[in-house]
């Protein structure tokens, strides 16, 4: 992957190797500030103009025992001079702040990869905690890598001679020393991070100074230390022109929700109970008070859900966000929302389950819960973004559907989308969809106001309290069609069930056609996925196509109802493969809906798919295919 080399300026003769793409992973103790270092590297890289995809990976415990394997926190960044969609399968450069970080991550480093370690952290105690009997820095076991032993603690202290801070406080700056060295190694500018340090620690000048010194010390160490003979440059990517910012999936959901409210001319109500990995949406929305956003930290998820129902009844653009365990608690409330046919959005940022499961790890195993997980015939439209940036679009789309069809809508994100980041082009207002809201102001029939008198899309009117003459009562008991009065009539019940089902099924008419990446007319193999597997699936399929295989992909963002032409598309391919971070939930739905023999490719390790997981499965299948 190295292309050209050129000597850089400077006293020493250092050559700069041009790379197309590089995957860096920072690992250390949860207290080592790895998420911060990773985030800074991401910002700097994005501002420089590379394409970038990130994968933060942190333990569920805020502070697991220091130095332990359980406490290892990591942050992976893929930066590239072309369009990329995954954080990368293999790490090219591993920055390990302690033995536990090294031990837990070494297997992912490519043979011959760059290995920067903080040698000061490899004392007896830390080695023991990580389960090393001998120091791996000294026993030759790392000979297969380009190992650089860096005294990060010493450098940090020396770079801060005369500082008033305690040794402990200085120690906390060592992530910036490491970051500085990485900036030198990959030719990044220090400016973004220096500016950030200033803004963050401006009120504590000695802390700001220590971090800035650490960053520069790391950088100059790279420049002057004889062990480093080359560094690397990943040129800017050719990406669509425009103004960009870096966005995580959770941030994008929050932005999308606020945008939807603005587009609808409404104020947003967000009722939620904190839960990983959804809490950041609550945090983010709580700062948008000048947009009229009201956040309500409820006493539990049931209250979060039902407060949202109340807010929707009262005319707000109402939304709740949670993760799988919270959705389980909301289920009865969602049923009430289906019965009362009010518009609202339920965001599920999925994590590993069942039960408390793996709170900080990603999974897609709540799909069937979203589609089927309530009592009675209880149809809820389900949609899913496929990249962090797409979370913005799909949050708006969720409200489009909710408002047009008067229905709760489930938006399925996951931990990987939520915490992963990518550059996001700021949209122009003109490019955004229009959201139309109408509240009746006069009775809709001669007999007075009929809350369940439907329009052509089977949506009922949204009459809000405070409107004279439209006083009416709704609730969870079965309704008589049109009047909305309580009714136990058997045929009315069946009619209402069918009507609610038909309304949600009818949403398909408003959806775009299925997009096929590859051969639209069909072929040997279709790989179909949904949600955050988008990057890995598309990258794998494109690689296989370049290698001559007749394979295409489809990525679903609409999971209930499916797009109208999906059955037709599936039948154009000889075989269909469905990679999912669950035991085959989408494949089950596709098989049941279309009687197509979908093969499942499950992965439930709390980690996203690697490109090679999927490419390998495709290759194996295609080999079998050739033999047929």
């Amino acid at each position: 992957m190295s292309t050209a080399t050129a000597p850089t300026s400077g006293a020493r003769n250092i050559k700069t190797v041009q790379l197309d793409e590089i995957v860096i992973r920072f690992v250390g103790d949860s207290g080592d500030g790895m998420q911060l270092a990773g985030t800074q590297m991401t910002n700097t890289t994005a501002v420089f103009g590379n394409d970038v995809v990130t994968l933060p990976d942190f333990p569920a415990e805020i502070r697991a025992p220091a130095g332990s394997l359980a406490g290892v926190s990591g942050f992976q960044i893929n930066l590239s001079s072309h369009d990329i969609r995954t954080p990368g399968d293999q790490v090219n450069c591993l920055v390990a702040m302690n033995p536990a970080g090294l031990k837990a991550n070494l297997a992912d480093l490519e043979p011959g990869g760059i290995l920067l370690v903080n040698e000061d952290a490899f004392g007896k105690v830390n080695l023991q905690k990580a389960g090393y009997e001998v120091n791996p820095l000294e026993d030759g076991s790392l000979a297969g890598f380009r190992l650089f032993k860096v005294p990060l603690d010493k450098l940090t202290t020396e770079g801060n001679k005369g500082s008033a801070l305690t040794a402990r406080a200085l120690g906390r700056c060592r992530n910036f020393t490491a970051l500085g060295l990485v900036y030198w190694m990959f030719n990044r500018s220090l400016n973004e991070t220096l500016r950030w340090i200033d803004a963050k620690f401006g009120k504590k000048p000695e802390v700001a100074q220590a971090n800035a010194n650490a960053l520069k010390t790391g950088y100059y160490f790279g420049e002057t230390c004889e062990t480093f003979v080359e560094n690397y440059q990943v040129p800017k990517a050719r990406i669509a022109p425009g103004r960009y910012r870096k966005l995580t999936g959770n941030e994008a959901v929050a932005l999308g929700l606020v945008t939807a409210a603005k587009l609808a001319g409404k104020e947003l109500f967000y009722g939620s109970y904190p839960i990983t990995p959804a809490s950041d949406i609550l945090h983010q929305l709580s700062i948008y008070k000048n947009y009229g956003v009201r956040t309500f930290q409820a006493e539990d998820e049931i209250a979060a859900m039902t407060s949202v129902i109340g807010a929707a009844f009262a005319g707000a653009l109402a939304v709740t966000g949670t993760s799988g365990p919270g959705v389980a608690l909301k289920a009865e409330g969602i049923g009430l929302a289906v019965c009362t046919e009010l518009p609202m959005v339920i965001v599920n940022v999925q994590r590993g389950g069942p039960s408390t499961g793996l709170p900080t790890k990603t999974e897609q195993a709540d799909l069937l819960q979203a589609v089927c997980g309530r009592n009675g015939e209880c149809p809820v439209p389900v949609i899913a973004p496929c990249t962090p940036g797409d979370c913005f679009n799909m949050a708006i789309e969720a409200f489009r559907i909710a408002l047009e069809y008067m229905t709760p809508v489930m938006l399925l994100s996951d931990g990987y989308l939520a915490n992963g980041a990518e550059p996001w082009m700021l949209p122009s207002e003109a490019s955004l969809p229009k959201l139309r809201v109408q509240h009746p102001t006069a009775p809709n029939s001669d007999g007075g106001f009929m809350p369940y008198l439907r329009d052509a899309k089977l949506a009922r009117p949204w009459a809000v309290p405070g409107t004279p003459g439209l006083e009416h009562r709704i609730g969870g008991l079965e309704k008589e069609d049109v009047s909305g009065n309580v009714s136990y009539d058997p045929l009315n019940h069946e009619h209402m069930i069918k009507t609610r089902a038909a309304k949600v099924a009818g949403i398909a008419k408003s959806l775009p056609k299925v997009e096929i990446n590859g051969s639209p007319t069909g072929g040997d193999l279709l790989v179909i996925g949904w949600g955050s597997t988008y990057g890995a699936i598309n990258t794998a399929v494109e690689r296989c196509r370049r290698n001559g295989m007749d394979v295409s992909s489809v990525h679903l963002r609409y999971l209930f109802p499916f797009q109208q032409d999906l059955g037709d598309v599936l039948k154009r391919f000889k075989r269909v493969l469905c990679p999912e971070m669950n035991l085959g939930q989408l494949s089950k739905l596709l098989r049941a809906t279309y009687l197509v023999d979908v093969m499942s490719l499950p992965k439930v390790q709390g980690k996203p798919f690697m490109v090679r997981d999927i490419a390998g499965a495709i290759e194996a299948l295609m080999k079998g295919n050739n033999g047929r």
């Binding site: 910012r245 932005l255 603005k262 009229g292 209250a303 005319g315 009562r473 609730g475």
Partner: protein, 340 residues
């Protein structure tokens, strides 16, 4: 002479819906409905501004029978639904109708939190000490040892006292009344409606089917005067058919004393609904039949900012400081860069 055009004066009839009422004949709920319909038109609030939210239970059918906006929600969750309504529409008059099971069993959590937040909502708890709708199981307010369908040998659950719970949850308004004491109930409802904050009202309600005469000691003509104590702010605690007995404090515990002789009115405990500390209100909430006459009326009525007012103040302050948010500002925030 001027020709004044006045708003048509609404009456109880205007608040009756067209739905058939499905409670059992003789149920105490009828009387509570009648008093509420009587009080609503006197409050000077347009009909369309009322929202009645309920949970599940016999009592929770209530919203169907008043011609206002209404929401019959799910079991126990009415306070949370009402919170959502009130936070986004502080201009509405929001009433929660709930039962003893609905409010204190499945919905206990929401009740506590609505009360502590002090949303400006009126919570009317119909306490019949039984699960009516599910046909007669014991409830969290049923007496210890009570025999019901689910407790053939008597309940071994220790009961909750709704007003003690509400006071423990930092309630700013706490009151009690009785279904058949229509005048008293009307007065208490008017007081609750006038309170700015969460008004919690327990109404003793007879379920003549599954727990008949549960409150006969305070409802029956012959017994009531000796077993209830009408609370009046600033007045001594006196009760009895002949108003000859009172409540006095002995240390920190109340005791019943006979007036006359050594004991003067001034020796009695005086009611103070405005007391900052809820100690007195709590003490009153612990006076139970048959050891004590049960207090009726307003136990506590103090002022504290309402939740929705504080929420909307913050929104107002943010808008004043930062200006109304625009999409442009929303997107172009933090570190951005341009690709040409």
């Amino acid at each position: 002479m001027s020709n004044n055009v006045t708003m048509p004066q609404l009456t109880a009839k205007d608040f009756a819906s067209d739905q058939d009422i499905r409670w059992c004949p003789g149920c105490g709920d009828y009387s509570i409905l009648a008093q509420v319909k009587k009080v609503l038109p006197t409050l000077g609030i347009p009909r369309e501004k009322f929202v009645f939210v309920s949970g599940i239970g016999c009592s929770s059918r209530f919203p169907y029978y008043v011609n206002t906006f209404g929401f019959h929600s799910i079991h126990g969750r009415a306070p949370a639904v009402a919170s959502g309504v009130k936070i986004v529409r502080p201009d509405l008059s929001v009433w929660v109708i709930t039962g003893d099971g609905d409010a204190l069993s499945i919905g206990g959590n929401h009740l506590l939190h609505a009360i502590r937040r002090n949303l400006d909502i009126k919570i009317i708890l119909f306490n019949n000490r039984i699960y009516g709708l599910t046909k007669g199981q014991y409830s969290p307010t049923s007496e210890f040892g009570k025999k019901t369908k689910s407790t053939p040998m008597g309940s071994v659950d220790f009961p909750l006292h709704p007003l003690s719970v509400a006071i423990g949850a930092e309630a700013t308004f706490v009151a009690r009344s009785l279904d058949v004491n229509t005048k008293h109930l009307e007065e208490v409802l008017v007081r609750a409606a006038g309170h700015k904050g969460t008004a919690f009202v327990e109404v003793y309600q007879n379920c003549n089917i599954f727990n008949d005469l549960a409150f006969e000691y305070v409802a029956g003509k012959d017994t009531r005067d000796d077993h209830m104590l009408a609370l009046e702010h600033g007045k001594p605690l006196i009760f009895g058919k002949n108003r000859d007995r009172g409540i006095r404090l002995s240390g920190t515990t109340p005791e019943i004393v006979q007036l006359g002789g050594d004991v003067k009115e001034d020796d009695l405990l005086f009611h103070d609904e405005k007391a900052n500390e809820p100690t007195l209100a709590y003490l009153l909430s612990r006076m139970h039949h048959p050891d004590f006459p049960e207090p009726m009326g307003v136990f506590r009525a103090v002022q504290r900012p309402t939740y929705e007012a504080l929420v909307n103040q913050q929104i107002g302050a943010a808008r004043a400081q930062q200006g109304e948010g625009t999409l442009e500002a929303l997107f172009d925030d933090g570190e951005t860069w341009v690709v040409n």
